[in-house]
């Protein structure tokens, strides 16, 4: 419901922003870029697209936060100019798109473990422990396995209430993907997906729902999108990364997860990264566009608009906005691959050079 509301509200907001910035001369060449998809980067896109429109008063960007799946479908149906997704397209999806699609990473995020335990302000967890908690195999906070990782903390004899997402979510996907990598048992029993079949715990809708329950329940632990948890300053657990270090989720540690060799098409999974400073549950989010923009009745101008928008998002200015609202900015290497990919976008074989 909330999503639908935002979806309906957003074009209105954009319209009003646009009106405020003065539309006098713009009516002759007003162009609209439309996109739809992931909800995770929505607050970031909201601001970065607004800034883009401020610089380009003749352009309007509409973005509907309808979920990654919906974004991919909308792009495939050609009902939007770009799709946005928290998961890159798998081979099957790539085939179904009827045309080559380019993945442009726009920012990074993580999944953090928020908890509420009176008197415990620093907690260390490992992937294996999280897996055991969510599988219902560790039921008490003072279980020996948790105590072993936290020798300096007095943990209470209290039931653990694991909280998960009741709606399908990219956050669940990234959380379960990480656990599938670090725990064979998780991989066998749960697997990875946007929604799973959970043996233990309780569920709530959206990041706000999970955060609400975790904050209000003594002994609860829940996985939450980093952008949401960092903004609310929820207490979160340090996770043991691949190098064996216990790492807090911060913008720096999330960005550090991308310090691995990234593939040329940017379809990279960076969970359980090798980097010694990396936060282990980190992720990219992508904007998807067709490589050849000459489809349907699209004009060269429309193709140029898209390229301009993408270049703005990955520009230093666009990335600075990301950090301001708790999304981790892209690493140098990711930016480099991004701009190489943007250069590949063409219009029926013609290269597209932005007008500015």
């Amino acid at each position: 419901m909330r999503r639908l509301f935002l979806f309906l509200l957003f074009p209105l907001l954009l319209q009003s922003c646009n009106n405020n910035s003065g539309t006098t001369g713009g009516s002759s060449s007003q162009s609209t870029i439309s996109g739809a998809g992931a909800t995770f980067p929505y607050p970031y896109y909201n601001i970065v697209f607004r800034d883009f429109m401020r610089y380009n008063e003749d352009k309007t960007v509409n973005y509907g936060a309808i979920g990654s799946g919906g974004g991919i479908r909308s792009l495939r149906d050609h009902s939007v100019d770009f799709g946005a997704s928290d998961a890159f397209l798998n081979e099957k999806e790539i085939e179904s798109m009827n045309g080559e699609v380019i993945h442009i990473a726009t920012c990074m995020g993580g999944v953090v473990m928020a908890y509420t335990l009176e008197g415990v302000d620093s907690l260390r967890l490992t992937g294996q422990l999280i897996s055991d908690i969510y599988l219902g195999k560790i039921e008490k906070w003072n279980d020996q396995r948790i105590v072993a990782e936290n020798p300096d903390i007095k943990l209470p004899d209290l039931d653990i209430t694991p909280v998960y997402r009741s709606d399908g979510s990219g956050t669940t996907f990234n959380f379960s993907e990480y656990l599938s990598v670090v725990s064979q048992e998780w991989n066998r029993i749960m697997g990875k997906g946007k929604s799973l079949k959970w043996p233990a715990g309780i569920a709530a809708k959206g990041n706000p729902g999970v955060a609400g329950i975790v904050q209000q329940t003594e002994g609860a632990i829940g996985y939450i999108g980093s952008e949401y948890a960092l903004t609310l300053r929820l207490p979160t657990a340090k996770l043991k990364n691949r190098a064996g270090n216990y790492v807090d989720a911060t913008l720096e540690t999330i960005s550090a997860a991308a310090n691995v060799t990234l593939p040329d098409d940017m379809r990279a999974t960076i969970t359980d990264s090798d980097d010694p400073n990396a936060y282990p549950i980190s992720l990219f989010t992508w904007i998807l566009v067709y490589k050849d923009q000459a489809y349907d009745n699209r004009t060269l101008e429309e193709a140029q608009d898209i390229v301009e928008l993408l270049e703005y998002v990955i520009s230093p200015e666009g990335q600075k906005v990301a950090a301001q609202i708790n999304y981790a900015p892209l690493s140098e290497q990711a930016l480099e691959i991004n701009s190489r990919l943007i250069k590949q976008i063409n219009y029926g074989g013609l290269s597209i050079t932005p007008q500015n």
């Binding site: 419901m1 999503r3 979920g67 799946g69 919906g70 479908r73 209290l158 039931d159 209430t161 009741s166 709606d167 399908g168 979510s169 697997g191 997906g193 946007k194 929604s195 799973l196 079949k197 959970w198 715990g201 309780i202 569920a203 709530a204 809708k205 609400g212 329950i213 209000q216 329940t217 002994g219 609860a220």
Partner: protein, 285 residues
Amino acid sequence: MKDKIFRFLLFFAALIILLLTAGIIFALVSRSTEAFQEYGIWGFIANPEWDPRPATEEYGALSFIVGTLYTAFFALFLCVPFSLSVALFNGEYFKGKRISSFVRSIVDLLAGIPSIVYGLWGFYAVRPLIIDLGINAQGFGIFLSSIVLAIMIIPYASSLSTEFISMVPNKLKEGAYSLGATQFEVIQNISLPTARSGIVASYILALGRALGETMAVTMLIGNTDRIPKGLRDTGNTMASVIANQFGEADGLKLSSLIAIGLLLFVITALINMIAKLVMKKVASI
């Protein structure tokens, strides 16, 4: 001429409502066929599995049907003592008095509170009590939802019961009084038996209301896709699973959710029909 236009307008309005209802049923049926074809109607209803993972995808409605019946009937059970006493207070003891209309408007106010406000109240005020009582560790579940649901349906059960109790003919009651019956005996032997089917009908309607309640239950029940093991356990109702999972669903999952919607529609329609039949019986007395 004016009469004709008016009649046409009325006819038109009635027709639109009929068409709308037919349209809703058609949409539910046509969108849910995929799920019913995959599992069979009975196979879908009787299957407790709800597994949304693409590799092992399997959907059944049983755990949500059980969760719905659990919460609704327990809520009904909890609501009876309160709504019946309100009905007797207003319809018998203080019939026509000022205090009665005051109580009545307060109870009606309960009916006007939006569902989400009940949800918030349950989340912040009732849930800590449940934890303190030691019902379960985190408070959410069938028990909490039923308590809040019970309060939500009190006005529906009590206002109709009040009507039926106050409709009991005075000559019957006066006859009993003249034979030396106390007020309690009159209520026990005259008022309640005479108004019985009306009271039953009002509770059936309240039950129908509890079955379909969505927002408050979604906030309080814990949203776990399993058959609840008891009143202390968490669960999911038919309405709350739709509210939770509709957003990103597609394909078979979407169809299964719509099928659950259709089942809920059928159940509540049946409940309302039963209530109507019972009330007809009252009218004919």
